[in-house]
Symmetry: C2
Subunit: 353 residues, 2 copies
């Protein structure tokens, strides 16, 4: 089938083939593709031509085998499609690229089984380092697996318990506490906390923050961790609203819960913020566009991915493996974005920050 001029050979051309075609030794070709030092200008030009003509590309696998780094790093997250993690990934990839590396992203759906398998697969590919957001951050087996690696590891969003593994987190506790305090300052007395996935580290920290604020104000905590989906939100809210002492505010601990709750409130024609104030954890697109715009605790998403990757490369370059010396814990600040749903006056140009 008449095809294009390039390489119609069955397989990729090899360095040896280039060498032969150029009438030089393999060493010379190797030098050329690695910067071209110690090669005469003519040879260099000649070899480059041949490389071009043959469409030669060095085989990473062979280089790796010689013991070099693979120039790949792995990122293991619950879901690529989750905006939080995909933003992290984008930021991490930028750093990886700046360091001449490739980022390989895999997803686990928070299942321990997948987390362990992904670590193993990535390791088989000899990634130089690993960034991981582990759903099962307290799993003994995962921890031991990670601890046994020679490659550096950085945990994001959720730390690996009792491991001394570096981590980049946001201050979920403070963020939640500040949000609830804000609600309290608005005079809210019965603030209910709504969420799903109560087993995750992040959620638990946020609950701690909620409790701390509530209790230090002498109020009563009301926590519902059953909100997995829209109908769960609807049920929970209907029940709460028809209870003896209905809440006057909701603090929702994750994006989907915030969105679902907001929609339920609309459907039930409950006024926000007059009847119920609403503050969510985690910002999202359109949180500033809906009416009322929604006040949220905003996490520095890109910064997480960026810092984690930076930290990883720092460990990589500092020579040694995971747990020694530079293991660090980076805690990033969260920010309360005050929009309308908490009771603050609507800003004039609400398409927010």
């Amino acid at each position: 089938m008449g095809k294009h001029p390039a390489n119609k050979k069955n397989s990729h051309p090899t360095l040896g083939q280039v060498a032969r075609a150029a009438g030089v030794g393999t060493t010379t070709v190797s030098r050329v593709i690695n910067g071209g030092d110690r090669v005469s200008p003519e040879t260099l030009t000649k070899v480059r031509q041949v490389i071009e003509a043959l469409g030669y590309r060095p085989n990473q696998a062979a280089r790796v085998l010689k013991g070099d780094r693979t120039r790949t790093i792995g990122l293991i997250v619950p879901s690529i499609a989750d905006p939080f993690f995909s933003s992290c990934a984008e930021a991490a990839q930028a750093v990886a690229r700046a360091n001449g590396s490739l980022l390989i992203v895999t997803s686990t759906q928070n299942e321990l089984h997948n987390e362990i398998e992904n670590v193993n697969v990535l390791l088989s590919h000899r990634v130089d380092g690993l960034i991981i957001a582990a759903g099962n951050s307290r799993s003994r087996s995962l921890r031991d697996l990670l601890l046994g690696l020679r490659a550096p590891v950085v945990a994001i969003d959720r730390p690996i318990s009792d491991s001394g593994i570096s981590s980049v987190l946001t201050d979920n506790f403070q963020g939640a506490r500040a949000a609830v305090q804000h609600l309290i300052e608005h005079g809210r007395k019965r603030i209910a906390c709504l969420t799903g996935e109560g087993s995750l580290y992040t959620i638990q920290e946020r609950i701690r923050g909620y409790r701390a604020a509530i209790e230090s104000a002498g109020l009563t905590p009301v926590i519902d961790t059953s909100i997995h989906d829209f109908s769960a939100a609807r049920n929970a809210i209907e029940k709460l609203m028809s209870s003896e002492h209905p809440p006057d505010a909701f603090f929702t601990l994750k994006n989907s819960t915030t969105a679902h709750s907001f929609e339920v409130l609309q459907q039930l024609h409950i006024r926000v913020p007059s009847s119920i104030a609403l503050v969510g954890f985690d910002d999202f697109e359109l949180a500033s566009t809906v009416r009322p715009s929604i006040t949220v605790v905003q996490q520095p998403v890109e910064a997480i991915g960026h810092s984690a990757a930076e930290l990883l490369f720092k460990q990589l370059f500092s020579g040694r493996g995971s747990t020694d010396g530079i293991a660090q814990r980076v805690i990033l600040k969260n920010q309360l974005i005050r929009r309308s749903s908490c009771g603050c006056a609507a800003s004039l140009r609400p398409s927010g920050t």
Copy 2:
């Protein structure tokens, strides 16, 4: 520093080390890690123990060097953080995993420079195949590069011009035309088309669809391709609204334009849909939650990633390289999701489809 039991060796243990430790030959170990056929039960157990004890993991690079597939496929997209592409990626990864492969995702910001570099990097890593959403789908150099590969390539979202490269697309033309027709059926006469990134294939197809519907209804097309951001949207809309014949509907060609336009309309206190009807191309979270809920052309995002990966593996397994035989063009249908902003009655339970 007292560490854990695993492998404290400087580097990874090798198959040879396992063989020696187990008192067997390398072939036997190789057999064990490849399924354990033709090995006696005792040896098998023994070897497995040693593997476990040493924390041995086969080195992919070495396998690759032997000519095997790398069991990795590459996905090149404009941005990982874009929900459209991250959903594609998630779907593609699921297929890859089902086929025992790893998906490597890289992003290009639609820059030709990055697209070419990413192809080369992925190729150096000897990915078995490539899925690409090329911003510069008409670039000659990119096309030639892709055509020269022995690895199968599947284009998504945007076809590679004049290349015969397989592609998985949605029917942008039909989708747009149906949306505009819907607006026309609602009695709208002056439907303005708003968008940015007019150079992209997808956008151009949508414009074609818009034109087709408008012209066959004897109306006048009004197209503004300058909407890069919020303030551009604001300017454009203000100008349109104060013109002699202000529009009575907007058809927005991409997510961000839809969201920005919606917000501008709110700020200007222009009633939707009574004064201006709105239909957007591409669904997004909360499109059903805002008030009025927004009617959109919904693309089968997961299906794109899924089909593309399936197609890629099909080509991979069918033995040969890119352009022969099974090169296909898969066109997926888009669906008009009728919510409120087009003028259709609000549905009772508007949290969408």
